[in-house]
């Protein structure tokens, strides 16, 4: 397993960091989070023309950059750090991954190039209002009618679901349960019978939507009834992605708390000179560095498709969720009253931390998955 980054990877990270600092300062985040779409199509396409981010882990044969999960992890970590408002997680981390896992060769060749170019924004609709993060939560049905599939049901918490051009949907054959009868489908965003409503989200930097399918005609993606394995794999890989994104945000918060403590003067000293602050900062560093180790290790395992991946992905997701949230809580505390104001930027990351803690399953859920993966 790789425990360090190559000099090329370090260079890639520093270029990306500079780029995102320029393109996605908090003022830009605040502007985009106030919009209904939550991101800007022209600037997202332009950013991809320059850096090809949306193509990072898509193989070259499908129009991608052909990098692995370590590079994808770097991109996500830097985006999490900058709190970039973009449909990257939905389109590249979730939908492209699902297509790679489930699609036929012909479907991958057709669907992935426009996603790689960011001409098509895709998303993955799997969770439903029951809020379960595995196959047991999927109630949406796919029925066949004259050789065509039709979807009925409600998907919720769909990232960028109201703006995506292409929706990858997980549904089941009527009368099946659990891992049985699951299939992937694709549906255009403007399909007849599909109603999309933006949800009011706690984290305005990452939009979510509720999607109602009323007899929506859908294309089967991959093999009918064989969706369970690619679905589980997609969720595992997505957990690795989210863990890496979270440690980027946690690191940014930790640094901002340190910078503030070094500036803020009370009782005639910077608050950074108080031992209570120093010890808190030391603990924050421990939390963030351990979570980074877990996220990097999981990314390396995903890159190698290591058999330990399911356990390591859940470990990383749980570890990063707890570290991000704890860091966010400490960062507000260190800022004091100003940290509770809207004008201070801390709450932007705090809300992302809270949303990410729950998205794809909370730490308790992932710890249980990890124990099962280890056969305990």
């Amino acid at each position: 397993m790789q425990f360090s980054f190559t000099s090329e990877q370090e260079e890639f990270r520093s270029v990306l960091r500079r780029f995102l600092e320029e393109k996605s300062p908090p003022t830009a985040v605040r502007r985009l989070m106030e919009t209904d779409t939550g991101w800007d199509r022209d600037s997202w396409r332009e950013l991809n023309q320059q850096l090809g981010l949306s193509a990072v882990h898509i193989p070259e044969v499908y129009g991608g950059q052909g990098f692995g999960y370590v590079e994808l992890g770097i991109v996500l970590e830097e985006m999490g750090r900058a709190l970039l408002c973009a449909p990257f997680f939905a389109s590249t981390a979730l939908a492209a991954t699902a297509i790679l896992n489930a699609g036929t060769e012909a479907q991958k060749r057709a669907l992935l190039p426009p996603i790689a170019d960011a001409d098509t924004i895709a998303t993955l609709a799997f969770t439903e209002p029951n809020g379960r993060w595995d196959a047991t939560g999927i109630e949406t049905t796919a029925t066949t009618e004259g050789g065509r599939f039709r979807l009925n049901g409600v998907k919720s918490f769909v990232l960028d679901g109201h703006t995506a051009d292409l929706i990858v949907v997980v549904a089941r054959r009527p009368g099946t349960a659990g891992d049985e009868g699951l299939s992937f489908f694709t549906v255009p965003g403007d399909a007849a019978g599909l109603t999309r409503r933006a949800l009011k989200v706690l984290d305005p930097t990452r939009k979510q939507a509720l999607l109602e399918f009323r007899s929506v005609e859908a294309e089967l993606l991959g093999e009918e009834g064989a969706g369970a394995a690619p679905f589980t794999k997609t969720l595992t890989q997505a957990a690795v992605c989210l863990a890496n994104e979270m440690v980027g945000g946690a690191e940014r918060l930790r640094q901002s708390a340190l910078d503030y403590a070094n500036l803020r003067v009370q009782f005639g000293r910077t608050i950074a000179s108080f031992q209570s602050m120093k010890h808190k900062q030391a603990d924050m560093l421990v939390d963030v560095e351990l979570a980074k180790s877990a996220a990097y290790c999981a990314a390396a395992a995903a890159a190698e498709d290591d058999p330990e991946l399911p356990a390591l992905a859940s470990l990383a997701k749980a570890c990063a969720s707890d570290a991000y949230m704890q860091t966010a809580i400490h960062t507000i505390q260190i800022h004091g009253g100003i940290g509770f104001t809207w004008d201070n930027d801390t709450h932007l990351w705090f809300k992302r931390a809270k949303s990410s803690e729950v998205f794809l399953g909370d730490p308790t859920w992932h710890r249980e998955l990890m124990m099962r993966a280890w056969g305990v």
Binding site: S4, A261, T270, S273, A282, L290, A318
Partner: protein
């Protein structure tokens, strides 16, 4: 000559070991050969038994030794700390006298720094060294002294001047433990073991040639010792790793280890014994309790992440990168792991956690974990001191305001009761 590379070092070390290694040699005889070859301490200078190799390449030599099953220079105990300190600060005469016999294991050492009145604040030592006639005379008390009961020599930090600020009034000595003025008493711990000693000095004598560096430079020398201690050069991690292999040299090495290890058999328990958790949970059936499962998972997450953080630090070091923050967290994290493990062992063990000795599970091992874990967050720098170090040295936060550095040591408030 070209720069040594991993490949060239590996090839050269392997060739030498294959030509010379023989498990039927005597331990001291073999170690003298290794020392003469430069492969015993390859990162040391050539004139003192080394090869001037970068520290990162030492691992390659260790791997080659392990591959062939060869025994290295004496690593266990305080010997390596003594050797490293004297290498850096000793006179040529001191190096001549002590280095080789420390590396062969013929001499054993102890470190006489901590005192009842100065634990975290080592520079507050009050043990006195006064120059009388032609020798130094030592009076005072040290504590937490590992291996003092079988040591030949001690590394002594003592106060030579109370009229200057605390760090300037300390000097560093090598003291002969086998003398009437030195009395060693074991110190019984809360877990029942007596692994450390109290050492009392009553007009103990040190000849002038045993002063290390100049008078008043003791703190700088002690810092070197402590730096090597933090790097794990006390070899605690290696203790108990004696092999089961056959051969005279292995027998002698096992005997050496046994003497040193005996009082520290509880050290693995101090770290929490994470390795026992899953098998114990399954054996007791507690692995079916969702609350217990969560706590086990939290522990394993912490422990794995700690392990990977250490591997990140090592990988960066191997690449020659500057040390990142991940390299400074290990000590503090290991306390967290140990506490979490003690908590989980309690959950798994249930009512039996009230028992000890043979009434406790695993012949007392579980009980020993529960009463040994508190040592880890104190020994070798408390968690609180670790947090100060991390915040000041890694994060660059302001140092603690001090009231003891700007005045003669005699005027600094001290413990009334210790």
């Amino acid at each position: 000559m070209s720069e040594p590379t991993e490949a060239s070092v590996r090839a050269e070390a392997r060739a030498w070991l294959e030509a010379n290694w023989n498990p039927d040699r005597g331990l001291v005889e073999w170690r003298n050969m290794v020392i003469d070859s430069g492969w015993g301490v390859p990162s040391w200078p050539k004139e003192w038994y080394g090869r001037d190799l970068p520290l990162a390449l030492e691992r390659v030599v260790e791997e080659e030794m392990a591959r062939i099953g060869a025994v290295g220079v004496a690593k266990a105990g305080i010997r390596r700390l003594a050797a490293a300190t004297l290498l850096a600060h000793g006179t040529d005469a001191q190096k001549e006298k002590y280095l080789r016999r420390s590396l062969t294991g013929e001499d054993t050492w102890c470190q006489l720094f901590s005192e009842p009145g100065s634990g975290s604040d080592l520079a507050g030592a009050t043990t006195r060294a006064e120059f009388k006639g032609n020798r130094w005379v030592i009076n005072g008390q040290k504590v937490w002294t590992t291996s003092a009961h079988h040591a030949d020599w001690g590394l002594l930090l003592a106060r030579t001047d109370s009229n200057v600020p605390k760090h300037q009034g300390l000097s560093y000595f090598v003291i002969d433990i086998h003398q009437p003025g030195v009395q060693v008493h074991p110190l019984r711990q809360m877990n029942g073991h007596a692994s450390f000693n109290q050492v009392f000095f009553t007009d103990a004598e040190v000849p002038p040639e045993n002063l290390v560096a100049q008078v008043g430079r003791g703190w700088a020398v002690a810092t070197t010792t402590l730096m090597h201690e933090r790097r794990g050069a006390d070899g605690v991690g290696r203790w108990g790793q004696s092999s089961n292999r056959q051969g005279r040299i292995y027998d002698e090495e096992r005997a050496e280890n046994a003497t040193i290890i005996e009082p520290y058999k509880w050290y693995p328990q101090r770290a929490g014994r994470v390795d026992l958790v899953i098998e114990r949970a399954k054996a007791t059936g507690r692995n079916t309790d969702p609350v217990v499962r969560q706590e086990i998972a939290k522990l394993l997450t912490l422990s794995k992440a700690a392990e990977w953080t250490a591997l990140r630090a090592r990988a960066a070091q191997m690449q020659g990168k500057p040390q990142g923050p991940e390299g400074s967290l290990g000590k503090l994290v290991s306390s967290h792991v140990a506490r979490a493990a003690a908590h989980v062992h309690t959950l798994i063990t249930g009512a039996d956690a009230m028992l000890t000795g043979e009434d406790s599970p695993m012949g007392g091992v579980i009980a020993e974990i529960l009463v040994s874990v508190p040592a880890g967050s104190i020994a070798g720098g408390t968690d609180e001191i670790q947090r100060n170090i991390i915040s000041e040295r890694v994060l660059g936060m302001p140092k603690e305001p001090r009231t003891d550095n700007d005045r003669p040591f005699r005027d600094v408030p001290k413990n009334l009761v210790v």
